[in-house]
Amino acid sequence: MKHYLDFEKSVAELENKIEELRHLTSDSDINIAEEVTHLQNKAERELNSIYSKLSPWQKCQVARHPERPHVREYISALVEDFTPLAGDRLYGEDQAVVGGLGRFQGRSCVLVGQEKGHDTSSRVAHNFGMARPEGYRKAQRLMNMAERFRLPFITLVDTPGAYPGVGAEERGQAEAIARCMEISLGLSVPVVCVVIGEGGSGGAIALATGDRILMLEHSIYSVISPEGCASILWRSSDQSRDAAEALRLTAQDLDKLGVIDRLIREPIGGAHRARTETIRAVGQAISDCLKDLSDKDPDSLRKERREKFLAMGQKGLS
């Protein structure tokens, strides 16, 4: 059963009609085949027009779409010999953060990302991509490993935010996030970060302080969720739509603000309609960035990464 977002109703109707027609006609009728093609074209045009002008709030829903490809799918498609590594060596293993060693286009890399899960049991196991301090400390361990073996460090960001819980606070959620940034800002190997879905505040930026920050076209990245922002500033979560507009959390806005380096196009209808194509595009973008960064020496990597963040916040939106 396909999951349709509420603004995709017209597409859902067309696609259901196509299904119905297909079922009806075991005795192949040429008129019906024509009708199907006609409807398919119509559905495609409809998708195209919807997705070419998604509102920020609609983008939030696309970014959170349950069928959007998640970290593990990217890794299994893009990385050979992936060897997952576990644990922070301090307290536990947090499956909200997935990471390990692997070969990306023939080259050993360290990869880390927040995994949201794809069904009920995996969502629970991965805690919906909301990491606890252990997850961030595992990421720190892997950053240090990348540094020690001089391997590029790649992150895939997809999280509603860091987990708000008693244990997480007691074990230093804030410190774990801060330390992640400290370590990754100091790495002397290339660091490429891609926001593939939701970039939820501090929980996201812990894994997004790299040399290159990329974003998928319909992903979002924000200081607070629109729901959280609405409930604080508008005193009502009914205003999430307005908050999503005001926060400027789309990849397009972040591009204009100079916060990201590159926007990766998604196929028509969003990543969840063409997973393979999307994953391939992300792979290509990472590869381009690594190529770009490959001849930089450790000192200039660190220096330029720092300068990149220092330069942010000079320009606003007109």
Partner: protein, 341 residues
Amino acid sequence: MNWITNYVRPKLQALVSSKNEVPDNLWEKCPACEHMVFHRELEEQLRVCPNCGHHMRIGPTTRMKLLFDEGKYTRISLPETIQDPLKFRDRERYTERLKKARSKTGEQDAIQVAHGTIGGQKAVTAIFDFSFMGGSMGVAVGEGLLAAAKLAVEKDAALITIPSSGGARMQEGILSLMQLPRSVIAVEMVKEKNLPYIVLLTDPTTGGVSASFAMLGDIQIAEPGAVIGFAGARVIEETIRETLPPGFQRAEYLLEHGMLDMVVPRNELQETLGRTLKLLREPLLGEALPASGKGKKAASKAAASDEAKGSSTAESEKPAAKDEKSGKKPAKPEAERVTEQ
């Protein structure tokens, strides 16, 4: 009825309100134990309740007078930054909120940077002003932290950050989130030079502010009872649907969980900071002074020459006049004002 509404009521109100105002100003109720404290006593006690020891919030000016030797310090003007980069508007325009906060505090934004000595040790402080939009961190605050770090490096001084903040400033969206790594870079600048970096966590230190520079101190000190944490207590309660343990996210609780070095009452802060800095910077007493440490008082005076000068006495309630010598600096909000509530 006219004569009642027009004459009697305003008169009565005037009587009633004036009667109310006098005790309000002279006596303050402790928010923790509800004990009524006479205002002069409260100021003498550094706004710590004499009955229960509750540490009320104090503003940057009071804080600086409290921490720097003899209450003497020099504020620096901070770089001008982009205003309202997102053209943000909720129920009110961000520019309006900024305007109100500025007229309320007389300051440009939620951070103040100063330098001087603490226990004879050179120190730069970057202090958050909670009364300015909840001490929230946007581009200007990030720039303030960077300026403080650069100043510490330039003056070969320790950096002491003193957060009091609800977190990132939502109205600056992603750019406020970017202040997290930027503030971490500020910390790194200081650490690279082997200068001490101390965080004094005051009430409250939460959200994005806690998850950046505020957790990376060489030494982490907190004031008693300060709320410190990443996620808001209400959010946690709603997520786990349980009541939170007593003392959750308070300074003492964090100390118990290994997140702090010490919880220090307000009246011992200056001594503690001075002693700690001295231990870090003067490993051999009397000798091995830092190369540039030529007579500390003279040094701080000399450095102050082209910057606005902080006033010194704790009882001066009137705003001290802007220093005329700072004429060449374009930024204006140098007037000293007591901003705490």
